[in-house]
């Protein structure tokens, strides 16, 4: 009988101890959990993380009057390249301002104009165009050798339309200004019709489309 009471007492003590341990454990967990739940942290950075766009602009400027030759005769290329009077050449500039990692591929194009009656249009093959380029507007070098007017069969990526002639392709990779000089003459092999007034007129356009710099 006494042993049973002793055993029962021992069981009760064990249970109490177990309960106590569990209670403490729970308490510890609860305290720890509450500690973490109650512990918040905010680390505020000082470095600014910013995204912003670059700026791009492009400008085409005609610096002289257009070519105006009223008594055009068949001309050898070497002579045509040296035409020097004010009315025999056309100067213009193309410039770009780039802030950011972008580049601007561009094209210079000759746009053929309709010839008013009673004049008759010269044939494309009978008209030569010659383009020079300069970094300073003083010393010019060939950008496109004398070439008969050759219309484009499709719109180019830069935007030169069908029927126009691409004279030059370039790319601005940074802010810059480039100078150009156009000359135009009747090809030396052209057979002119002396009984008709014949003419050929072009305007110059510039087309550019920016893209992110490669690499």
């Amino acid at each position: 009988m006494e042993n049973q009471n002793n055993n029962q007492m021992k069981d009760n003590s064990s249970k109490q101890i177990l309960l106590s341990v569990l209670g403490v454990a729970i308490l510890v967990v609860a305290v720890v959990g509450v500690s973490f739940a109650a512990f918040t942290y905010t680390g505020e950075g000082t470095e600014e993380n910013t995204i912003s766009t670059g700026t791009l602009s492009m400008t085409y400027t005609e610096t002289t009057n257009g070519i105006s030759i009223s008594n055009a005769q068949p001309t050898e290329d070497e002579a045509g390249k040296k035409l020097s009077s004010d009315n025999e050449k056309f100067d213009f500039t193309v410039s770009a301002e780039i802030n950011g990692e972008a580049e601007i591929p561009y094209e210079i194009a000759a746009i053929k104009q309709v010839i008013p009656e009673p004049m008759v249009a010269l044939q494309n093959k009978d008209v030569k165009l010659y383009l020079e380029k300069s970094e300073d507007g003083i010393d010019y070098t060939s950008a496109k050798e004398p070439t008969a007017f050759t219309p484009s069969g499709s719109t180019t990526e830069a935007g030169t339309p069908v029927g126009a002639m691409v004279l030059y392709k370039g790319t601005f990779q940074q802010s810059d200004e480039e100078y150009f000089r156009l000359r135009m003459w009747v090809d030396h092999e052209a057979t002119l019709d002396p009984t008709n007034l014949q003419a050929f007129t072009v305007k110059v356009n510039v087309y550019g489309k920016a893209q992110a710099k490669a690499g």
């Binding site: 995204i51 766009t53 670059g54 791009l56 602009s57 492009m58 400008t59 085409y60 005609e62 002289t64 009057n65 257009g66 070519i67 105006s68 030759i69 009223s70 008594n71 055009a72 005769q73 004010d86 009315n87 056309f90 213009f92 193309v94 972008a102 601007i104 561009y106 000759a110 746009i111 104009q113 004049m119 010269l122 008209v127 935007g159 156009l182 135009m184 003459w185 009747v186 002119l192 019709d193 002396p194 009984t195 008709n196 007034l197 014949q198 003419a199 050929f200 007129t201 072009v202 305007k203 110059v204 356009n205 510039v206 087309y207 550019g208 489309k209 920016a210 893209q211 992110a212």
Partner: protein, 225 residues
């Protein structure tokens, strides 16, 4: 657990959205920039229109039954009636040039005109004339016995170069025109017209009287470079 998964999904979705937005903004910034510079200046080349006229004065020259004469006499031949039995005389014609331009350069009142160069030539049509004649014995006069003399129609100033020497048909330079000789090359510096007078005669050194002989030409004008 389910709540956490949901929050995790929302967090990832937010990150992706932001990343996508950045890409779109950056891409849109550069793709939207395109430029077209439209020119306003006309660049024009135009040719001139040349009107060239050759006007003949009534009949041409046709030497038949002509006698040899000296150059001094030949230079002064005047028109005589055919009834005299001697056909002599001269042949008058006019050349005019008119150039039109599409426009006038602003820097000049009148466009600078390049000279219009031309050539007066004579085509030998003797064979055709003989073929059309009913007289069977008509023969062609040798060109070395045919004198050719061109003067200004107004002043009768010689246009043959050497004032003292009148060339023969044979000595004249061959023209690029078929069966023709070049009589004169000139140019117009500006629009205008010029009169010419042509004389032909049998050279004084022709002595063969054994047959009837003839020589016939047609005059023409063409522009040259």
């Amino acid at each position: 657990m389910e709540e956490q998964q949901k929050k995790a999904r929302e967090f990832v979705f937010s990150l992706l959205s932001i990343a996508f937005l950045i890409v779109v903004v950056l891409g849109a910034t550069y793709a939207a920039f395109s430029y077209t510079g439209v020119g306003s200046a006309d660049n024009t080349i135009s040719t001139s229109k040349l009107t060239f006229e050759y006007i003949e004065d009534r009949n041409g020259i046709n030497l038949v039954n002509a006698y040899p004469i000296s150059d001094e006499v030949g230079k002064n031949l005047i028109q005589t009636n055919e009834d005299d039995g001697i056909l002599s005389g001269y042949f008058d014609f006019t050349i005019s040039s008119n150039i039109e331009y599409a426009f006038t350069n602003e820097d000049e009142e009148v466009p600078v005109q390049d000279p219009v160069h031309y050539e007066i030539y004579a085509k030998d049509i003797t064979d055709e004339v003989i073929a059309s004649e009913s007289e069977q014995s008509l023969e062609k006069l040798d060109g070395q016995y045919v004198k050719v003399y061109l003067t200004s129609g107004d002043s009768e100033e010689s246009l043959m170069g050497d004032e003292d020497t009148v060339p023969t048909w044979s000595s004249l330079e061959d023209s690029t025109e078929e069966n023709s000789k070049t009589i004169y090359k000139g140019s117009f510096e500006e629009n205008g017209s010029q009169n010419f007078r042509l004389r032909m005669w049998v050279a004084q050194n022709y002595t063969d009287g054994s047959a009837h002989r003839t020589f016939a030409v047609k005059v023409g004008v063409k522009t040259i470079k």
